[in-house]
Chain length 333, copies 2
DNA sequence: TTTGTTTGGTTTAACGGTTAAGTTGAGAGG
DNA sequence: CCTCTCAACTTAACCGTTAAACCAAACAAA
């Protein structure tokens, strides 16, 4: 910057003015400064600017597993919205590990990011003022216990209800569920929707049809095997996320059980490949891109309101999911 | 920091020494400083530190599409290696857009990242000294034209050769290829491997069996339809990436053509779902995690060698891929 | 002519750390 | 008792920006 100023024959303050497009610099000088900048291949140091300005124009995003299709899709929405407003993204992986999540959180704070988007894997952490004071947080996908605001999630209860209703309307009575980690809202809410639909239809929820997975492929295989090896196996299964569904389908292949002939399957989470399975999977499709976009918008509103001290609270935004009926579900015999 | 120093009754320099675990601070003071730090919930400002130190301990990573399974897998390797050495990751999406890629590159420079991992979508850009001077770059996945060093990629020629050989060894003669963007090394190298295997087996490469896709699902569908609607359709198809394969399989479903009965399919890129398709897909599996890990290690070596001025050059590291034979390929009749 | 205002710039003090150089005090050696 | 050494700590300069305060010249109004 110093060099640019010297080459253009002005002070560094003038260079700064040109960079930030402030008024009060004559066209002639503006031109010569710009000239000098490109001659020297000068790029402003955002580190220094951040230090001075007190904000970084970077927002952090913590997800439990980048490898799960779901999160990159959310990330697209976040990124597109962020770019429009000149923000950069710092993506971190918590590996479903609460300790690492806390560590990342404090690391992001040290990096002085302007805000954080968090899909928390910590079912015990209380994100109270302590953390809040550090920076604005918007929760995505998963709602931490007790959290009543600043979150963008899918209406999991409704979505699970719809999925289960679909099975019931096809005449199924023996409907099993492969639940995810019920310490997470995505785990418990989907179970709640299932329960609601079953009770409404006066169907019993048999203990043996209620399987606890943990959102991983392996647990899907395990639960699938257990369910189909019962003396009286279910005629339909509701699997609570994409990875477990994958495991479930593998177990069906292994046991040589035809789907949907012998058992109908409806899965949470749609993904590119779902329509390519044989059979094509009936899924609950979340608005992933939209979740990311809305979350980023909410975060931006919070950041700006803190800047202007016009604190307005942001409720939990619940986006509906859509049931995509394909070939893995069919009428009960 | 000021507050911490005051509370502990020392100077800020002493606080700094404690933070950086420098010798020359008495145990008593060390304790009281640490005490004060936790009392005030103090987290050092990495922005200020970066400004002073001239490095950020952040490395940038630019990928064409986070939504492609491949890149998150690479990212895992990068992240694990980065974490060990105290580096953070800034992930960016170029959307296969060269302009955006250039823009991100200059943005990352302004952020003063210590290095960059780049899967370039720019087939024309020359990454010469101009760019190099800004920061160390290691290329991943795709080798830009003319680049002979500082890259970690899969041995695409060999892998494509193996895949094609596999089809040939099954007795296929009419072997089609759905190529990707041949302006990218991943596109052209895979074609080269295919060519080599075909020529070696004295099989003609028919123009009509050579289809140009662009690595997208849509192009896969398109090429699949075109190929199977020929008067004399191929008995085997080599598809050059995961998304195009997905498209290809959709087109087969649409045309009601059985795989592998009517046509064998081998695909580049393995992914979690590949083993769940019906039929289970024969794929070329890249060492994604390892690519990320090795690339990060190489970048670290470059960064450190620049620091010590012990410039040593890094060649192109080529990792082998593995052919996973499953059910989508079978003997030609 | 004097005064006020506007325009187009410069100077300088932060921002929050790190570190080289300087200071202090205590113990050892002469 | 004086000097020397060394450990322990402080002072102050610096990193690259921005912005408030300041300044000079030009011009308009009284």
């Amino acid at each position: 910057m110093h060099d640019v100023a010297r080459l253009a024959g002005v002070s560094i303050a003038t260079v700064s003015s040109v960079i930030n497009e402030k008024s009060g610099v004559s066209p002639k000088r503006t031109a010569s400064v710009k000239d000098a900048m490109s001659k020297l291949d000068y790029h402003p140091d955002l580190v220094a600017r951040s230090l001075k300005l007190g904000h970084t124009k970077v927002i952090g995003m913590i997800v439990p597993d980048v490898t799960n299709q779901y999160y990159p899709e959310v990330m697209r929405g976040v990124e597109d919205e962020a770019r429009v407003h000149g923000y950069q993204l710092m993506l971190c992986n918590s590996n479903e590990n609460p300790d690492q999540e806390q560590h990342l959180l404090s690391m992001l704070f040290s990096q002085r990011v302007d805000g954080v988007l968090l899909a928390s894997s910590d079912s015990t952490a209380v994100y109270d003022r302590q953390i809040r004071r550090r920076f604005p947080i918007v929760f995505i996908d998963r709602l931490p216990p007790g959290c009543m605001e600043r979150a963008v999630i899918t209406n999991n209860v409704q979505a699970a209800y719809d999925a289960t209703r679909h099975l019931i309307s096809l005449g199924h009575k023996r409907i099993a569920i492969i639940a995810g980690n019920i310490l997470l809202s995505t785990g418990s809410d989907r179970v709640a929707g299932y329960r609601q639909a079953m009770q409404e239809a006066h169907l019993p929820i048999r203990e043996e049809y209620f399987r606890h997975g943990d959102f991983t492929l392996e647990s899907g295989i395990q639960c699938g095997l257990e369910l189909m090896n019962l003396k009286n196996p279910p005629t339909a299964i509701f699997s609570c996320n994409n990875k477990m569904t994958l495991g479930l389908m593998r177990s069906l292949t292994e046991l040589n059980i035809a789907c949907p002939k012998k058992v109908s399957v409806v899965s949470f989470d749609d993904f590119e490949w779902a329509a390519n399975f044989t059979p094509q999977l009936t899924t609950v499709s979340q608005q992933t891109y939209q979740i990311g976009k809305c979350a980023m918008q909410m975060l931006l509103r919070i950041i700006n309101s803190e800047k202007n001290r016009t604190y307005q609270d942001e409720a939990v935004l619940m986006l509906p999911a859509k049931l995509l009926v394909r070939d893995s579900t069919t009428r009960a015999k």
